[in-house]
């Protein structure tokens, strides 16, 4: 950024970049605007950009007709639940690999990553049958388990790359100073590990919230999270675009906000530390 540029150049770049940004954001913006319109305004021709009267009716309607918040809470339970369980299993594993690595540590990490490469359709048949036999179909805990397993490799990898950046020398210095082990952990390690764990949590909640293969195929009316609930709008039932937009806006708003805060972690988590 230190390069000096002429103001005209900067303005030209600004205009061009904003144009690209607004085009890419347009579908989201349009859905948000439509959610405040009446149904007739939503399909008006020529299109109405801003609603003539901003109405919240669609939001109430979606809740009244289909118990929207049940699905919303299913999404929260499944995404947060699977991430917390994943962290509970992943933190010790990543910890031990980062701080007492053996010859096989690299192989184990690569193998864990390879489980992530397995396409869902490769295992959907047996999982479906086992879930049917064990009465886990359409249950929140069954789905939470599946999402924990598919995100566990990412959780361990992200944590591993963060933990590796914690300088081990500091631990030894603390020990030399006579700190007991628990003090070493609570006062030295935890404060350094927390940011990495928080980033991992954030990214995995996002990934689990948006997961749309298992959530659709393993749930029905009862445990359906928002992904499955919204998919049910695909069958033609008239043009209820304003209501569809309201349901969509509610479904993406929380994750959009989380996502904006986690841009950096996103790069790192999704490239398994290959790009920082």
């Amino acid at each position: 950024m230190a390069r000096s540029v002429r103001p005209q150049t900067k303005i030209a770049f600004t205009v061009l970049a904003w144009l690209v940004g607004l085009i890419l954001f347009f579908p989201i913006l349009w859905a948000i605007l439509t959610s405040f319109k009446t149904e007739s305004e939503a399909i008006a021709s020529p299109p109405v950009v801003l609603p003539s009267v901003w109405t919240l009716e669609n939001y109430f309607d979606v809740q009244a007709r289909s118990d929207y918040f049940k699905h919303f809470f299913n999404s929260v339970l499944i995404s947060v639940g699977s991430t917390l369980i994943g962290l509970f299993i992943g933190v010790p594993a990543a910890w031990s690999m980062a701080f007492s690595p053996t010859k096989r540590t690299k192989d184990i990490l690569m193998w864990m990553l390879s489980t992530k490469m397995m396409p869902a359709v490769g295992v959907v048949v047996p999982i479906y049958l086992l879930f049917r036999d064990w009465q886990l179909l359409d249950t929140v805990h069954g789905l939470t388990f599946v999402l924990t397993m598919i995100n566990l490799p990412i959780i361990i990898w992200m944590l591993y790359t963060y933990f590796r950046e914690i300088p081990v020398d500091i631990l030894e210095a603390a020990r030399m100073d006579g700190a007991e082990l628990w003090k070493e952990i609570v006062y030295v390690l935890v404060p350094m590990a927390i940011p990495g764990i928080a980033s991992t949590l954030l990214l995995n909640v996002i990934l689990a919230w948006n997961e749309a293969f298992w959530t659709i195929n393993l749930t029905a009316a009862q445990a359906a999270p928002l992904t499955a609930f919204i998919s049910s709008f695909s069958s033609p039932q008239g043009l209820f675009w304003a209501k569809l937009s309201a349901a969509s806006t509610l479904a993406i708003a929380p994750i959009l906000l989380l996502g904006w805060f986690s841009q950096k972690q996103l790069v790192r988590g999704l490239t398994f530390g290959a790009v920082k």
């Binding site: 600004t14 859905a31 864990m112 695909s234």
Partner: protein
């Protein structure tokens, strides 16, 4: 620091993760392979018997299989082309000095956070609807007759939707890589009289090579598994025109209850994904040593 005690502790701490992932991988995969050699249909579950290679033969010789393979390649290739080229250009643009860079960045990455069914439904209804969609309005404004995206070019429509979702990912990663390029190197080349064009092809692009590889490989893994976007827009149709391998397996196993056939398709999908995975693992593995 690594005494025998800490090593034993380390192994105990790793055990749950390793055991769970091992089970998660081996049990269902083993069952899929087993079912792929069985005649087994949920409509008639009593009639289970050994099938040999019949399921594979049946699945592979089905005309829908060839079409779905072609569609899978077009979908992956099309989205990769759009996202890598578009992502590089947008990253290049975002790396320039401008006002409100942070906000533009947020606008650009937002589509990535939209869950697939929502993305697909917004595009299907509000943008691509032949009567009331924005694209139809724009077409009519210019006096062109609007196209019925999902009837006329269903696969292309799906490619556009998926590309919109993944463009932010490519942009973000390429931008991150671009920002690690040293300012001095660029300035030096500028003093040596390199123009913008030369700077891009001889300095920036080689620097991005690694990041582009990572983008291509990771996206391929996810793009091979595209499902919800097809389910809510075209449902694989018309005919099999927008059915990819993932959707064909779903259709065979979960809609037609043909467990044997679906499992054979699943095994083929696993083999396909593994070919890509080998390259990805190499690219990521190299990074572990540094």
């Amino acid at each position: 620091m690594a005494t025998r005690q800490t090593r034993a502790l380390a192994r105990t701490m790793m055990a749950p993760a390793v055991v769970l992932l091992l089970l998660w991988m081996i049990v269902p995969l083993g069952m899929t392979i087993y079912f792929s050699f069985q005649n087994y249909n949920l409509l008639n579950p009593a009639m289970q018997s050994f099938a040999g290679w019949f399921n594979y033969e049946f699945f592979v010789t089905d005309p829908a299989f060839v079409q779905s393979m072609v569609n899978t390649l077009l979908l992956v290739g099309g989205v990769l082309a759009i996202t890598v080229i578009g992502g590089t250009l947008i990253a290049l643009l975002l790396d320039q000095p401008m006002f409100g860079q942070g906000i533009v960045r947020i606008l650009v990455i937002s589509p990535f956070f939209v869950m697939p069914p929502v993305a697909a439904l917004i595009w299907k209804n509000m943008l691509m609807h032949p009567g009331y969609g924005i694209f139809a309005h724009i077409a009519r404004f210019f006096g062109i007759s609007p196209i019925d995206w999902f009837a006329q070019v269903p696969l292309f429509a799906v490619i556009l939707i998926v590309a919109w979702q993944w463009l932010p990912f490519a942009t973000l990663i390429l931008l991150t890589a671009m920002q690690s390029l040293s300012e001095e190197q660029l300035e030096a080349s500028e003093m040596d009289g390199a123009n913008a064009f030369n700077r891009f092809f001889y300095i920036i692009l080689p620097h991005l090579a690694r990041a582009i590889t990572v983008v291509v490989l990771i996206q391929t893994i996810f793009l091979l598994a595209i499902f919800a976007e097809i389910l809510v827009t075209t449902n694989g149709g018309p005919g099999y025109n927008s059915t990819n391998l993932t959707f064909l397996v779903y259709r065979t196993a979960l809609l037609n209850y043909d467990i044997g056939g679906g499992s054979a398709g699943g095994v083929i999908a696993v083999i396909l994904a593994n070919i890509v995975a080998i390259f990805l693992m190499r690219a990521v593995g190299k990074n572990l040593d540094t």
